[in-house]
């Protein structure tokens, strides 16, 4: 099944530093808690791993990331991530276009368009949740991305951003995080998501 997502994340920093960070692939990948670059093949091909947790369900994906295009003119990055869960029963593919747009206040926005395709058991059985999960994974990505960029800078914002980054959980807890973004209280994230009953 395919889910199309269209996002904009405000970043309290200059477009130039956002674009600088956007080209740091391992850094960008790191914006997804639970995601990491496990191997750099060349500067446009990487291997990575993601561990996603949705309530009682956990899925671990290993896959390849290909940088299709880096357009300094448009300050746009086009990447495709393809992964299979470690049991080989499901697979996911994300075609992501991300670009930086300056805003009037001297800050910038990260804009993202993504098509997420899921196949296998996860699509057969998890379809009911897929849109929410993908949406929230991207929200999480955007929030971390913004923090990373801001953290490059100086001052209070940067300091807070660094704190938030430090507090990121080790694995992706898409729904809980998305709600934290949605409800705007990051702290309550921790401990959320775990439901104590079968």
């Amino acid at each position: 099944m395919q889910v199309n997502l269209d996002k904009t994340f405000p970043i309290a920093a200059a477009g130039s530093s956002a674009w600088k960070f956007l080209q740091d692939i391992p850094g960008v990948a790191g914006c997804m808690p639970g995601a990491e670059i496990t191997e750099t093949i060349d500067d446009s091909h990487y291997k990575g791993a993601v561990k996603a947790k949705v309530g009682p369900a956990t899925m671990a994906f290993n896959g390849d990331i290909e940088i299709v295009a880096v357009d300094s003119e448009k300050r746009q990055l086009h990447l495709i991530g393809r992964g299979q869960d470690t049991k080989g029963t499901s697979s996911a593919e994300m075609d992501l276009n991300a670009w930086v747009v300056d805003t009037d206040d001297g800050h910038c926005e990260l804009k993202g368009e993504a098509q997420v395709k899921v196949t296998g058991k996860a699509a057969s059985l998890g379809g009911r949740m897929m849109t929410q999960v993908s949406d929230q994974i991207l929200n999480q990505f955007g929030k971390n991305f913004a923090n990373n960029v801001m953290a490059l800078g100086e001052g209070e914002d940067a300091e807070e951003a660094r704190e938030e980054l430090a507090e990121q959980p080790k694995e992706l807890n898409g729904l809980a995080f998305a709600w934290s973004v949605f409800l705007g209280f990051l702290r309550s994230l921790f401990g959320g998501g775990k439901s104590s009953a079968g």
Partner: protein, 287 residues
């Protein structure tokens, strides 16, 4: 469909369960098991430890305590249906339990598990909102009471903290002038609701003094249609007002499309279930 390996712990008491929960990484509580075990058999869930609380009689049973009915978290659906206390003081819960899954599952499935699991398709969360219930939650550092309103935060996400356990559900006994309704649309026995709506209202003469409208499976979690409630509270409820409320119900929905229907259908069905429940509640309150 075979679950992955795990270590099994039969808790000897609530405190023991809480101790086990904090002692083990990646531990899950096993209540009725009809949500968790299928996920484990499909290998979506692979907890390293299962803490079975089925043996804890202290978590079972229904008591009338003044103007509150106290229900142990491990009370099964069929126990709810059979309870004379509930039939008399909280019939909504009985009606709702009758529409959960099927007879065998109702013998295992528990109210606490249904409330705490976090699946937006579960029946009890919206019922808890409509009843204005409270949850007794125990953790390593003692017991706390949390209102149902505000407990449900998202799909598989609620206000239970790491290592906490829900031990009791408290529902107020229905006061004079109270009416209730529960309508649930499902494809077949054993299915999640396409949409469901429990409603509780209190009439003061002809005027609706209080009303709570819950919605099942039309948002990432069970929700209350507050704008719809506002449209009816303090009013003499007419069909025209019910229509206004139905509009507000639709505005409150953000369902996920699946084989049960698309967003438009589920949104309309939420409204229709709410309409019917409001009418039922009115009729009961007046009789």
């Amino acid at each position: 469909m075979i679950p992955g390996e795990f270590e099994y712990h039969a808790a000897s008491s609530v405190d023991d369960a809480i101790r086990l929960l904090s002692a083990h990484e990646d531990a899950k509580i096993l209540a009725g098991g009809h949500s968790l075990l299928p996920m484990m058999k499909l290998r979506f869930a692979e907890p390293a430890h299962l803490i079975d609380i089925n043996g804890l009689s202290e978590l079972k049973g229904i008591q009338l305590d003044g103007d509150t009915v106290r229900i142990g978290a491990m009370t099964t659906e069929n126990d709810l249906i059979a309870s004379e206390i509930l039939q008399q003081h909280c019939p909504l819960l009985v009606d709702a339990a009758k529409l959960v899954a099927d007879p065998q599952v109702r013998n295992r499935g528990t109210i606490g598990g249904d409330v705490a699991h976090g699946d937006p398709g579960n029946d009890h969360p919206a019922v808890m909102l409509a009843l204005d219930a409270e949850f007794v939650i125990r953790g390593a550092n003692g017991e706390r009471v949390q209102a149902a309103n505000g407990f449900f935060l998202g799909t598989y996400w609620n206000a239970l903290e790491e290592g906490e356990l829900m031990t009791e559900i408290r529902v107020p006994v229905s006061k004079p002038g109270t009416g209730y309704g529960y309508n649930k649309l499902k494809r077949k026995t054993g299915d999640y609701a396409t949409a469901g709506s429990p409603v509780v209202l209190i009439l003061d003469g002809d005027v609706c003094r209080e009303i709570r409208i819950g919605l099942t499976n039309v948002a990432p979690m069970a929700i209350r249609a507050e704008a719809a409630e506002d449209a009816l509270r303090g009013q003499v409820i007419t069909e025209a007002l019910i229509e206004q409320a139905a509009e507000q119900v639709m505005a409150a929905c953000e369902p996920a499309e699946d084989l049960r229907g698309d967003v438009e259908y589920k949104t309309h069905m939420a409204a229709e279930m709410a309409r019917r429940s409001i009418r039922d509640a009115l009729a009961r309150a007046r009789s």
